[in-house]
């Protein structure tokens, strides 16, 4: 690749026009999204992207099935009032799983509100992950322990943090790659563009993964951009852009794997656009019938990420009935974990309101904590008097 030499050049070094052209060609995404396993479960060979071996695909498929079960169970629990809200990634599980499994232990993941499955796949305790959406605290896990940032709601803001973590890693000489997720709508925010530019200028090891699920709540992609693709935005900042079938787990693993390897080798950032679809409402609070037809949604059912991978692995004889039973049992176990966890009422501590605002409570916060404590103890004693 010509890219890595080009981007390592000293500032101000002019390029010849030949170098320029090949650099440009390498930055432009392919005309169609990279696909390695088609919706019928058949391998479509691609010179540039090797197909992962059967065992790795089987391991990832296992996570895919569990991921789907997480979405379905979380939806059910939100309907039962056990969670405040759930933005489902149903249909996007291949992106979720691939984003987590291409990373090594020392790497970082920057997820959004929609990426619960990716965070759980990365190995964070499911109940800690769902703390935010259940509503007992803003984030339930330790980002530093897991190298998973808090799930970001203010769109695209996390992408700059990802660049910062990568830049710090570079300054500290760490072997760390950062993978940052965002949606198609978020690419319109200024922070998206600043993050790409910073990443390219500082030549940091970040992989940006856009899950283009065609909608930002009700707004279709065509109202968001008229660029040939979202991946085309990469070249404007001087990094390669890639397009990948976002429902093809094999292609995602290959394309993201390559971008991660490149970043780790000092090759700089990559922008990957995964073409997928939001099969369900934006969240449980949304009414998609107002802006899209069920017919449009149904067109994506045959492209489901699970069915094609299952067919492919069964044809390959890597997956058999026993394997399926084992995976289904693991999925049920995960569902039971979510049910048990969420059906237990969390113990919240009102004092926590004041405990973490500053390293040390201000005198004002101490006063306010006292006020609340007083109210609560009066309430408690009046409850004791009138049982």
């Amino acid at each position: 690749m010509t890219i890595s030499t080009g981007t390592n050049r000293a500032p101000g070094t002019a390029r010849t026009s030949d170098q320029q052209e090949s650099a440009e060609a390498a930055m432009l995404p392919s005309a169609t999204p990279v696909q390695l396993v088609d919706p019928n479960g058949v391998h479509t060979p691609n010179e540039s992207y090797p197909l992962p071996d059967g065992e790795s695909l089987l391991a990832a498929y296992h996570k895919l099935v569990v991921g789907r079960r997480i979405n379905d169970q979380a939806n059910a629990l939100v309907r039962q009032g056990r969670m405040a809200v759930y933005p489902s990634s149903h249909g996007q599980e291949a992106c979720q799983v691939a984003a987590a499994v291409v990373l090594d232990h020392q790497d970082w993941l920057f997820p959004t509100y929609r990426d619960t499955v990716a965070v759980i796949t990365r190995g964070v305790d499911p109940m800690e992950v769902l703390t935010l959406l259940r509503g007992d605290w803003h984030s339930g896990y330790d980002p530093l322990e897991h190298k998973v940032a808090t799930q970001a709601t203010p769109l695209a803001t996390q992408l700059l943090h990802a660049v910062g973590v990568a830049h710090a890693a570079k300054l500290r000489g760490e072997d760390t790659v950062v993978l940052a997720l965002c949606g198609d709508g978020a690419t319109s925010e200024g922070d998206f563009h600043e993050a790409l530019n910073f990443a390219a200028v500082f030549h940091v090891p970040v992989v940006f993964l856009i899950q283009n699920n065609e909608y930002a709540i009700s707004v279709p992609l065509k109202s968001q951009t008229v660029a040939p693709s979202l991946a085309h935005k990469a070249i404007g900042y001087g990094m390669p852009g890639e397009r990948v079938d976002g429902n093809d787990l094999a292609a995602l693993l290959s394309v993201l794997g390559k971008a991660v390897t490149r970043a780790r080798a000092g090759g700089g950032p990559t922008l990957v656009e995964a073409h997928t679809y939001r099969m369900q409402a934006h969240t449980n609070a949304d009414d998609p019938s107002r802006y899209r037809s069920q017919d449009d949604v149904e067109k994506w059912i045959p492209k489901d990420p699970l069915s094609r991978m299952r067919t492919y692995l069964r044809d390959l004889a890597v997956l058999d009935d026993d394997g399926e039973t084992r995976i289904a049992a693991a999925a049920e176990e995960m569902a039971a974990t979510l049910r048990d966890g969420l059906n237990t009422d969390p113990v919240v501590n009102p004092e926590d309101l004041f405990n973490y605002v500053f390293t040390e409570k201000t005198s004002q916060l101490r006063e306010q904590a006292d006020l609340l404590r007083g109210e609560l103890s009066r309430e408690q004693s009046s409850e004791e008097v009138t049982p």
């Binding site: 405040a84 809200v85 935010l132 959406l133 259940r134 509503g135 007992d136 605290w137 803003h138 709601t153 203010p154 769109l155 709508g185 978020a186 319109s188 925010e189 200024g190 922070d191 930002a216 709540i217 009700s218 707004v219 065509k222 109202s223 968001q224 951009t225 008229v226 609070a285 949304d286 009414d287 107002r290 802006y291 969390p346 919240v348 009102p350 926590d352 309101l353 004041f354 605002v357 201000t362 004002q364 916060l365 306010q368 609340l372 109210e375």
Partner: protein
């Protein structure tokens, strides 16, 4: 105003899905017939937008999900269908872009009404609001007016997760040049939004989310006629006495008004008569109405959801103290949110000003000489 419909757009410019030229005179469908009945706060805002757009073709509404969806709270429901995509449309997802474009449109004869989807999602637009929206008229000695309305669903009490419940009024109120309104009743929702859209200066219009589903029996057609006949006194800059009383004054705005009213009702049962002032217009602030009440009662508690430190509530307390010192029988007190980030759903009830917390504070207003 200038007739922008005359402007020609370069025919070579492709406008992918954007509005065609001259859409301000586009097809307008008739309004649905209305009758008297219970009207929600949300419906009143929706009607105000529709009536304003009908009355003035330069009023243009835009933001995130305000088109086909009708806004996540349905405040713009039906506007695109009725007025066309040139008059109510979705933008790319970028608040700074929305606000900056509104400035330019206002400079060129449009009256933009923009929706920020939630309080905390207005922050990317903050630079445009503070550096341009608020300053442009002053910078140009009034030559450039910016009649922009920034609608913001705001504050908490709806069990929303982080970034969906901020009370951000103090940032705006602290910025000279911004008119800041926070209606609390369905009637005010309609009338104040109409006033805001007709106002010559930029208005930050704060819509308390938890009141969207509150109802009053109203005749929207009559409200429209009253507003358009300009017979009623304007609400911008005027507070109202929401409940008359004699012993102490509760001063509130937006989402805290119903809480103050409930506290006054509870106090009445305990034999204490509380007056409630609905500020409605944070900027400009109506010192006269607030001070007249406090001079009469001699005691005041200011109530707001926002953290109290350096807040609008703090400003109101200071103004009362400066103007009514000799009428006061006790220090003016505040019941506000704590000085902490807005809590998660399961903790928000500990944070929000409650009837009990208000009554406790009223009890502390030195009703008897201390030993």
């Amino acid at each position: 105003m200038t007739d922008t419909t005359e402007r020609v757009i370069d025919p070579g410019t492709e406008l992918p899905d954007g509005p065609p030229a001259g859409v301000l005179n586009g097809p307008e469908r008739a309004a649905e017939a209305r009758t008297v009945g219970p009207v929600t706060f949300a419906k009143a805002l929706n009607a105000a937008l529709a009536d304003a757009m009908e009355a003035d073709s330069s009023v243009v509404m835009f933001g995130e999900d305000v088109g086909a969806l009708g806004g996540v709270f349905r405040i713009t429901d039906g506007l695109t269908a009725r007025f066309g995509t040139g008059r109510c449309f979705d933008t790319p997802l970028a608040e700074a872009g929305i606000m900056g474009m509104a400035v330019g449109m206002a400079m060129n004869g449009i009256r933009p009404v923009v929706e920020m989807q939630f309080d905390a999602f207005a922050y990317p637009a903050f630079e445009q609001v503070v550096s341009h929206v608020a300053k442009m008229p002053n910078r140009t000695k009034g030559k450039v007016k910016l009649p922009i309305v920034i609608r913001i669903p705001y504050a908490g009490g709806i069990g929303g997760v982080e970034h969906h419940c901020d009370s951000s009024e103090s940032y705006y109120a602290h910025t000279p040049g911004l008119t800041v309104l926070a209606p609390a009743t369905v009637r005010d929702a309609y009338t104040m939004l109409r006033e805001a859209i007709s106002y010559p200066d930029p208005v930050v219009f704060l819509e308390p989310k938890k009141l969207y589903w509150s109802k009053e029996v109203l005749d929207l057609a009559e409200l429209k006629e009253t507003f358009e006949a300009s017979t009623a006194a304007p609400s911008i800059g005027r507070a109202v006495v929401a409940r008359a009383g004699t012993d102490a004054t509760l001063v509130a705005y937006g989402p805290s008004v119903p809480t103050a009213m409930a506290a006054a009702a509870a106090a009445a049962e305990e034999g204490r008569s509380l007056e409630v002032i609905d500020v409605r217009s944070i900027v400009p602030f109506d010192d006269e109405t607030v001070c007249a009440s406090v001079r009469k009662t001699g005691r005041a508690v200011v109530i707001a959801e926002a953290p109290g430190f350096a807040s609008v509530a703090a400003e109101i307390v200071a103004r009362i103290q400066e103007r009514c010192f000799h009428s006061l029988a006790a220090p003016v007190r505040r019941v506000t949110g704590f000085d902490v980030p807005y809590p998660s759903p399961k903790l928000e009830h500990f944070f929000l000003p409650s009837v009990d917390r208000i009554l406790d504070t009223v009890d502390e207003l030195q009703w008897e000489d201390q030993a």
